[in-house]
Symmetry: C2
Subunit: 140 residues, 2 copies
DNA sequence: CTAAATTATCATGACAAGATGATATTTACA
DNA sequence: TGTAAATATCATCTTGTCATGATAATTTAG
């Protein structure tokens, strides 16, 4: 469903939301905590910063933190820089133009399903996920 | 949502379902009708045949046709050889073990959404899509 | 002002998906 | 029996994603 990179982004944001949201966290700290390749994560963090999801500070004692409260950050915002509009993935059959007025054979049935996926990403806040009993992201 | 190859497979099956289901259709005929690369489609057709979705006949006057009625063929069957269990894509955060008893932070919320996607592919029949007003697959 | 720490950026490589082209194999029909 | 038509199979090529490693730029601390 999500690309590897988008998954890294989401896990990173959850990590930052669960930790001290106001303090800075180094890329190497995050990479080690989440078991994500260090150098690759650097680029992902940079893109998240450019997208306005994180703010970065360079130099000694630098690092990353959330640009806004987790309760106001949607999953769609986190994932969009990597996977584009998630779930909104238009036509199941790959037609460039597929709409209510010019539908592909799968349009009517697929529309409601993909709409739910899209809604999930647009309306679920990062903060919502922290309410779960186990917020820690455990890896294999 | 679907890989390019799975999309080819789905469009091919819809084409065969809309056409004479009992007669054979050549790979080149399908490729031209659906604007899919000829040689690449050959392999996709072969895999669909091996998966039991199509039957193939070699030699002169050979070709492909559906192995069973479109009304008894699920979208999941068509797509599975390429994308695996679609929508059933387990954990949004990529955890290998993620279940009701050992959930990731997103589990509860994501479960219902991914379940709907999975259900769509498992319960929608190829034949269902033919009832649409415009069954022809128009490409850009 | 210098050095260390840290992000930013660049260059490259590994790998899979998608695509292309050529060859082998099978079958029908003249 | 031979030839043409069609699928089956094999060998590459291209491209994008994921990943690795090295270097530049920036900032703080002493």
């Amino acid at each position: 469903m999500l690309s590897q990179t988008a998954e890294y982004a989401l896990r990173t944001v959850l990590y930052l939301a669960a930790a001290q949201q106001t303090s800075l966290h180094r890329a190497s700290e995050i990479a080690e905590a989440l078991d994500i390749p260090r150098n690759y994560l650097s680029k992902t963090l940079h893109l998240l910063a450019r997208a306005g999801v994180l703010t970065s500070s360079r130099g000694k004692n630098g690092g990353f933190r959330l640009a806004k409260p987790a309760s106001k950050l949607t999953l769609a915002e986190v994932v969009a820089p990597f996977d584009g509009p998630t779930g909104a993935r238009i036509c199941l059959l790959g037609r460039v133009a597929c709409s209510d007025s010019d539908p592909c054979p799968a349009h009517a049935r697929w529309k409601s399903v993909s709409g739910e996926v899209s809604t999930f990403f647009r309306e679920t806040m990062v903060g919502d996920l922290l309410e779960s009993p186990v917020a820690r992201v455990k890896r294999a």
